[in-house]
Symmetry: C2
């Protein structure tokens, strides 16, 4: 746990150093961009190019989905190996239904509508959209953690020497993703198409090689487990658990529906075509991959992914194997990267509605939502470190969120079809009805079967986020109400201000500060805090010798603290019979050293005083800097 907290601190420290040492910032992040450059970013994409760009998240999941499924059954021994087939088939059927439902979403919201937008549009109350947004946000965090961990595992399967450094490597990847995304990358950059293309090609080659192998050596080989045997200890619960784990391969479907605006015209048709093509490719890959795993009787091994085992079996550890491993690595990182666009965008939209801290809507120098990027990275780092970059440990936390938001979005669509009707609405309604029913069932199965393994965490975290959202919204509403004035009624007036100058002796800094105070048109009182009578008497004499540039009040502190006597003096002024001033205005000097480390040489009691007074008193504070020459 400590490590976790510390990693957050470290990330914050990194961010602060960026903020302060702007030259370093420029090198890594690049020149600041003008707000109007925002719209120039998106070049419209032909759908066949959009396909790989938008599919990294979904398609990359094939690298860990089936494996996550069979891992659940590993305890039953080799007789359970054949279950990879029915489990994968079931998840492919679910994939088909989800893609159909999402096509309905594209038809309904051609402007691009995530689950949050759909829910917001179709429910009066806020909570359905908050369920959608918070479960998606949680899920984005998990996507980064799972994808980065899986990417690192792919590499460490090929190079076991990497294994002890998995967590470190994963953290390095997250840091790089932060830098890349603070720098800003157009979601639609064509360069992102290539790794996914190559990975898809690798999968095609892998599956084709598998087929060839099976044509030559038979579809049932010596390694193929018996089909249809039911090993002892198999329960419905276990099968459901395996199924729900395998469904973690289905996350990322929403990406295309969010990105409709970046397609070339006709947008909707292009997006639908992309959805269908992606569905077919993913289904074929999943089924082919699962079938070959079945034929080769490959079992999960925490030190060697099933993909690596299969590829190693076909190609040895030569060039093709290397290409497969590294393209898996890159594509999984792209999946994480796409989340670095999704999370900040969604959190900015929710924050703009007042349900999350407003700082999430700030665009950074390079127009990305910097705070969202940093929050995502910090949370994902916590997960990666806590789970030591082990994918399987993270899977139970996964996918509930996706299926919850899927369900909310589809119920939203159901309400929409009922309201707006339109061509073929009963068919669309039916599709979303089936879809929402199925995703709801899967979400419940997930929550139920994975409860002990960690799903309970999500079931606690989600209500917390939703409650937090409501509290945030209420606070903003109350503040807005409190700050509102009627410009016709309320106008600035003139107040009586007493300015208090803190003096510590007679020297250049005090001279500066008193000069400033006397330049204001306010009543000025110099206050000196002494720790004994002697120093107070000395100060009074000196002040008179200096010509009493303003009235001097001396206070004695028995506790060596300047806070307590000043606080008492403020109280006296507040109850002053001669007429309480409207504002008490405290003027403090502050040393600004030439070198940053000189700060530790000056007590900077001014800073502490400011912090304390602000917390405890209603006073206005002016800091007069004194820039040290040396």
């Amino acid at each position: 746990m400590l490590e976790v907290i510390f990693s957050i601190l470290a990330l914050l420290a990194i961010w602060y150093s960026f903020a302060n040492f702007t030259n370093i910032k420029r090198i890594f992040i690049g020149r600041p961009m003008r707000t109007k450059e925002l719209n120039a970013q998106h070049t419209k994409l032909f759908w066949m190019l959009a396909l790989p760009i938008l599919s990294a998240d979904l398609y990359s999941s094939v690298a860990y989905g089936p494996e996550a499924g069979v891992t659940e059954l590993i305890g039953l021994g080799p007789a359970a190996k054949w279950f990879i087939l029915p489990i994968t088939i079931a998840s492919v059927v679910l994939l088909g239904i989800l893609i159909l439902s999402y096509i309905m979403g594209v038809i309904a919201y051609p402007g691009g509508g995530g689950a949050y937008a759909i829910a917001k549009d179709n429910f009066k109350r806020a909570w359905p959209s908050l369920i959608a947004s918070s479960s998606l946000l949680v899920d984005y965090v998990l996507t980064v953690a799972v994808s980065v961990s899986a990417a690192v595992e792919a590499v460490s399967s090929a190079y076991p020497a990497v294994q002890p450094f998995e967590t470190t490597l994963a953290m390095v990847v997250v840091l790089l993703l932060v830098l890349i995304n603070l720098r800003g990358v157009a979601e639609s950059a064509v360069i992102f198409a290539w790794p996914t293309f190559i990975f898809m090609a690798c999968m095609v080659v892998l599956i084709a090689t598998g087929l060839l192998d099976e044509v030559r050596h038979g579809f049932v080989q010596s390694t193929t487990p018996a089909f249809g045997t039911f090993p002892q200890g198999l329960t419905t619960l276990l099968i459901l658990k395996a199924f729900s784990s395998a469904c973690s391969a289905l996350t990322g479907i929403e990406t295309i529906s969010n990105a409709v605006p970046i397609f070339r015209e006709p947008k909707q048709k292009s997006a639908i075509k992309t959805y269908i093509a992606l569905g077919v490719i993913t289904a074929v890959t999943l089924l082919g991959f699962a079938y070959h795993l079945y034929v080769k009787g490959i079992a999960p091994d925490p030190k060697n992914t099933m993909l690596s085992q299969l590829a190693g079996g076909y190609f040895g550890h030569g060039g093709i194997y290397q290409i497969i491993i590294w393209s898996t690595f890159v594509v999984l990182i792209l999946a994480a990267n796409s989340t670095f666009t999704g999370f900040p965008q969604l959190s900015a939209i929710v924050a703009a509605d007042g349900y999350l801290p407003r700082a999430l809507t700030n665009r950074g120098d390079r127009l990305g939502y910097s705070n969202g990027i940093l929050v995502l990275a910090a949370l994902a780092s916590i997960l990666i470190i806590s789970f030591r970059a082990q994918t399987n440990a993270l899977i139970p936390l996964y996918a509930i969120g996706v299926f919850l938001s899927f369900t909310v979005a589809q119920i939203g669509l159901l309400r929409r079809w009922k309201r707006v009707k339109g061509p073929n609405w009963p068919l669309k309604f039916a599709i979303n009805l089936a879809g929402s029913g199925l995703t709801a069932v899967v979400a419940i199965i997930f929550a139920f079967t994975k409860f002990v393994d960690g799903a309970w965490v999500v079931l606690i975290v989600l209500p917390l986020i939703i409650t937090f959202s409501y509290i945030v919204k209420r606070h903003y509403t109350q503040v807005a109400l409190e700050l509102r004035i009627d410009p016709k009624e309320t106008h600035p007036t003139r107040h009586r201000v007493i300015s208090i100058v803190l003096v510590s002796g007679i020297h250049r800094v005090v001279n500066n500060t008193v000069t400033f105070a006397n330049s204001l048109g306010t009543e000025v009182i110099a206050v000196y805090v002494g720790f004994d009578d002697e120093s107070i008497a000395k100060m009074e004499t000196k002040w008179n010798e200096w010509g009493s540039p303003c009235r001097l009040v001396t206070l004695k502190s028995s506790y060596r603290s300047i806070l307590e006597p000043i606080s008492r003096f403020i109280q006296t002024l507040e109850r002053w019979e001669g007429g309480k001033p409207d504002h008490i205005h405290i003027i403090v000097p502050q040393f600004i050293p030439k070198k940053w480390w000189h700060n530790i040489l000056h007590n900077q009691s001014a800073l502490l005083l400011r912090a304390w007074l602000f917390r405890h008193k209603d006073v206005i504070i002016t800091t007069v800097p004194y820039h040290l020459q040396k």
Copy 2:
């Protein structure tokens, strides 16, 4: 290394939470104390009571000194076991000479004079006293680390289950010491006498039991190693190394000479009596302990201290053994605790002379030097964590510092005797001549034999601290020079001030801020930063509708940052042809939320702006707080 940095951060965080949540602070630290309570603290002590109180540091070292010595020879096999005798005898001889030399110190400085004070008094240049102070400060840090680690090792020898948590336990002890010392304990509290008394009694019982055992079973037993054999591989270097490690038992001798003022009259005589008694007791204990270890042929075992082995052999693991282990634990912690008085006092004295940051001279609520306590705890924690609470690993870093400061102090005394003469001065001179020669030789042996084991660290750290001290002193001198004014020549005048109010719209906060600005007798300009032309035009209209309470300047920011346009505006004012103002005065509002976590809901750009402007511009900044009601 990360853990190390993080532990410092954690300590800082703890301190800050103390500073902020004063109620918690009150519970742990207690009510604040008046400055005049300081002198009431010390009740004068009878020397027999002072003896145990002031001897924890020196006497507790018997628990690890001889062990540290023979550990160096462990590689030579059992034939080297007998070397525990000559090594211990040599360190006892050195102990005698050191105590004699320190008695000379007490005679010369009855007011209590540490090595720093003696060196300061007897050398014109600063560097000898800086050598003394920095080596003592380094040594105090090492004392905490070594004593706490040894205490924890004593417990984990008795309870092996504690072993995996040694570092954690050590950190808990350090934290407790911090709390106790922030709360403030009179160095002379009689309660501190008991553990040392009990520990001394335990040692007497242990040695007596050993003698009894030897009378009954013979002074040469079956386990006793052959005396006088020279095992293969024995070198002079190794013997010197063992000797210097054993000398780590001699640290802490300076405590009594620093504490002369707390003795009952006649102070000097009492202190000298205490020195002689302590010397005798320590010598007897060291020799007796070493002799029994020799007879029993006990070898060092990293999992079981030699003291624990010997006690276990005589008494089994019953009641007496438990008392010995726990009194060792308590006495070693008392040794660390005495350092928590020594380090802050010494660093405050050095800081008062301008050679360390002045913050070290601040007395906290309970009159302790809080900053010194925290710095000591942080540094000791770094050592404990880096060395995983292993005493032997820390010993090489130890004792160079002690012997260096011993040497400096005695050379100082030599110069004093030559200068002031006085009764019997040639004798005193001779004693200190012998003492300084011996301690110098030991320091050189230490530096030489332990160089590779870590002594080089100390030899790098010391010059760094001394250089730092010089730089600090120079900075303070320069600043003092820069700040000095002639009160007859320089007087506060009146300046022309332009006040800039940052406005973000028309609401209650802006109304407050503008009211304050208009209450000053300065020229007021309201500045609005807009991100597009539309919002700027809207603001200008609204401002006019509001009756233009002051002049409004609108600035456009293409980069969504308010810093850049404000910085440009300040530049314009600074070059203003109509006459550059003497001061530019910026007024910013700041939200003060009711609940601390509400801070994350408000962007607090005012704070960032302040920090940035202070670093980059010469402007005066006023913060007008707005206390949110909800």
